[in-house]
């Protein structure tokens, strides 16, 4: 059966709670702040929320259920999206179906995480059963080491060089300097990128994100609801998700997007050439490069050439990760999976401020998450259009 379209679903009230490197505050605190900001910008009260979708690694021992009581919310639709970097788009996709079906009228999608000293180490060691059994005991390098292996295999297979990844990182830093909430505040040159201290070869310092605390969120509703409330919004043109794609690949060279990308463009009624800006999940530049390929902007293995022949800054010919991405804005746990989507909504609603891409009408956002053992398992993507 052909998948139903996402007609009439809009996204409003994009919110980013400014990130902090280390914070004593809890996930509950960060999520509450994001929700409060979302409600405020949409002139809503908590009772107006009848749907809630939550992503967080650090709520333990609570779940989103406990969060409803903690925050005094009574939603009739509740979702928990424990999908890391794929969470934002997947939360949107499911919330879209809820509002389409009338299960909910206004869904708040929110992601937030705490970051105390040593909490990253503890998160790594208990991230997943396969990670505990078969990855963490091997140097405990965490995602840096796991994705370094993927990068190493990718470079060997396709001839990509550090300077190609450097173009992604350097462009994002340039973008981040125009984003007021970015953790990274100083410029980054390609020379600095290439001479950075090694983290897990081939990765150096600027291939890796900075774990921090923070929260992101947005509201999902039907278009008529948004219009009735006088909200500015972006439209959802199409979206996909996929888990554990290509399990037989010996090492990850492609994500689940490659399985579903044609359907995404099909339901969105556009192609790669129509995308004005792209927000990829950039836990590492190599993963963004894979997304360029798997999302159809170039052929498999052509990512290095693609980044060499395009300008990825806000004012360039291929604006990419306009708020700096996680590499420069910081990775606030599951909120990292919301960063690009929230920025894309700001871009399409003219709220992006310093990072605004001129004339942005169509944006693509892709998510990627959960390195359970040797590869990221969740992939997601969405195409958004400006409203009105």
């Amino acid at each position: 059966m052909k998948r139903k379209d996402y007609q009439g679903v809009v996204i409003a009230a994009p919110v980013s709670v400014p990130y902090v490197r280390y914070s004593q505050e809890t996930a509950q605190w960060w999520i509450a702040r994001a929700l409060k900001d979302m409600l405020k910008s949409a002139s809503l009260t908590p009772v107006d929320l009848d749907g809630l979708s939550v992503s967080s690694f650090t709520l333990f021992p609570d779940t989103p259920v406990g969060l409803t009581q903690h925050l005094g919310l009574s939603p009739r639709w509740l979702d928990s999206i424990p999908m890391g970097g794929a969470s934002g788009v997947i939360a949107l996709r499911r919330a879209a179906r809820a509002v389409q079906a009338g299960d909910a009228d206004i869904v708040a999608c929110v992601a937030g995480d705490a970051n105390r000293i040593d909490s990253f180490r503890q998160l790594l060691s208990s991230f997943s059963r396969f990670a505990m059994d078969a990855s963490y005991p091997y140097g405990s390098g965490g995602p840096n080491a796991s994705f370094a292996l993927i990068a190493d295999a990718y470079m060997a297979e396709y001839g990509a060089k550090p300077e190609h990844f450097g173009r992604i990182a350097v462009a994002q830093r340039a973008n981040a300097l125009r984003y007021k909430n970015a953790i990274m505040k100083s410029p980054l040159s390609l020379e600095q990128y290439l001479s950075a201290r090694p983290i897990s070869e081939p990765f150096g310092l600027y291939d890796c994100v900075m774990p921090c605390a923070g929260a992101e969120g947005f509201l999902v509703m039907r278009e008529e609801e948004a219009e009735a409330r006088g909200l500015t919004f972006a439209r959802l043109a199409g979206t996909i998700e996929r888990h554990n794609a290509f399990p037989q690949d010996p090492v990850q060279m492609r994500g689940g997007w490659a399985m579903d990308i044609d359907e995404l463009y099909g339901m969105s009624g556009c192609g790669p050439g129509d995308i004005d800006l792209l927000q990829t999940y950039d836990d590492y530049p190599v993963i963004s490069m894979m997304q360029f390929e798997d999302l159809g902007f170039c052929d498999k293995g052509e990512g290095a050439h693609f980044v060499s022949s395009h300008d990825l800054t806000i004012d360039g010919d291929f604006p990419h990760n306009t708020s700096g991405g996680q590499l420069s804005a910081g990775q606030a746990g599951a909120a990292g999976g919301y960063l690009g989507l929230v920025e894309a909504v700001r871009q399409l609603t003219g709220l992006a401020g310093g990072t605004q891409v001129k004339g942005a009408k169509t944006a693509m956002v892709s998510g990627f998450g959960m390195i359970n053992y040797d590869r990221g398992l969740c992939s997601s993507a969405a195409i958004l259009r400006s409203g009105g």
Partner: protein, 415 residues
């Protein structure tokens, strides 16, 4: 090619000795199957009983057909490295002290991709032999080794941390009156042990190979009687701080069942075989535990020689079997108590040894030389359990298959 490991320099007494840390220890129950295989020096993975698919990481259901009957089977070790990294940053204290640390992805010919430690001689593109070894946390881990042996490959620091190689280590052999003492000491020296302390009980008796042992280079004969707490304490006070491996060769065997023999022999067997082990562990264990991260000649292992009848009694040696079961049980508690330091307890299970106490038994029997060789090989490979000789191997196999059937066979009633 691995660099030859130089003998350790004398330690700087003004520097604090490194406190032992462990690599991550937590594992799921399924993953302990890797540990169980590594402990015995086997390379085993789960195979689906229905479709045969080989699984990794260990799991509870087949990823090809969802069958929940997964069987641990010996698996081909051949693989190729398809990716590698050198980790320079790790939040884990154990690895942080040992950076950079190399890991890689190995594609097994048997199917799965395995994230593994990399021996220094292998890298991306290389054909390798995979091995499962116990790490300092005592958990089974994957390591990719060169396809062909090279001269000093055991000296690779990453591999050495997974073994208890005698090279450059100082080893106490607790009882030189044991028939295996001399061949064992010679084998340890040949394997590069820097010094062997040979314990001599009852120096007031003659009739041992003491003089021949004392004449060996790098061997000191020291008074030690495992039945005497004071003797153990005295020697531990003298050499406990520089003993890297203890190999307990003290052993008392007398034939006879339970009804027919009195408790005098049994008591002597328990005094030496079980309580002697306790005394040694109490005397030498704490200092060894504090020295498991002490460089090239760090404390590495505590070795027991046990009869395979520790697992299931030989009624012809009833009290002796009981003492061996007790010693085995003590060794298991020691494993728990040594665990936080990374000090390994290696049990060497042997069948009937070729000595006066098993003289009327038919072959095969384990010679002193074979036992010595098995001990050294076990230390070099870093296993926890060694089954030496055909009888021990056969009995282990039968014990694994069905302890009750084995008990019935050993106690009469098998065809």
């Amino acid at each position: 090619m691995s660099e030859k490991l130089p003998p350790p320099a004398k330690k700087n007494p003004q520097l604090r000795q490194r406190v032992p840390t462990l690599p991550p220890v937590a594992r799921s129950r399924a993953a302990l199957g890797l540990t169980a295989a590594a402990a015995r020096g086997r390379f085993m993975l789960q195979h689906c009983a229905e479709c045969g698919a080989v699984q990794y990481p260990p799991r509870d259901a087949c990823a090809s057909c969802l069958c929940v009957a997964l069987e641990w089977r010996d698996t081909g070790r051949k693989a190729r490295i398809i990716a590698e990294t050198r980790i320079h940053v790790s939040p884990d204290p154990y690895f942080r002290e040992r950076l950079p640390w190399r890991t890689g992805l190995a594609r097994l010919e048997a199917g799965p991709t395995v994230l593994c430690h990399l021996h220094g001689d292998v890298g991306r593109g290389d054909a390798v032999m995979m091995d499962l070894k116990l790490d300092k946390a005592g958990q089974g881990v994957m390591i990719a080794l060169p396809e062909t042996r090279s001269a000093d490959m055991e000296d690779d620091p990453l591999l050495r941390a997974l073994t208890a190689d005698p090279k450059h280590r100082r080893i106490l052999v607790t009882d030189l009156r044991s028939a295996i003492a001399k061949p064992l000491i010679e084998a340890l020296l040949a394997a590069g042990a820097s010094h062997v302390f040979a314990g001599e009980p009852e120096a007031w008796r003659r009739g041992s190979e003491r003089d021949a042992i004392a004449a060996l280079d790098q061997v000191s004969v020291m008074p030690l009687d495992v039945t005497d707490q004071a003797s153990v304490s005295r020697l531990a006070g003298e050499i406990g701080g520089k003993t890297d491996i203890v190999i307990n060769t003290a052993r008392h065997v007398r034939p006879g069942g339970v009804l027919g023999s009195d408790t005098v022999f049994a008591r002597e067997e328990f005094e030496i075989n079980a309580l002697g082990l306790m005394r040694l562990a109490q005397g030498f264990g704490p200092a060894m535990c504090s020295r498991t991260a002490d460089g090239t000649n760090s404390a590495a292992a505590f070795v027991n020689i046990l009869s395979v009848h520790a697992l299931s009694a030989d009624p012809g040696y009833g009290a002796f079997s009981a003492s061996q079961a007790a010693a085995y049980s003590i060794s298991q508690t020691l494993r728990s108590e040594f665990r936080s330091s990374g000090l390994r307890v290696m049990n060497v299970f042997t069948g009937p040894t070729d000595d006066e106490w098993h003289q009327p038994l038919p072959p095969p029997k384990v010679t002193a030389g074979a036992l010595a060789k098995a001990i050294v090989a076990g230390l070099k490979s870093g296993v926890e359990d060694v089954f030496c000789g055909d009888v021990a191997k056969d009995l282990e196999e039968r014990w694994r298959r069905d302890p009750k059937v084995l008990e019935r066979e050993l106690t009469g009633g098998g065809a």
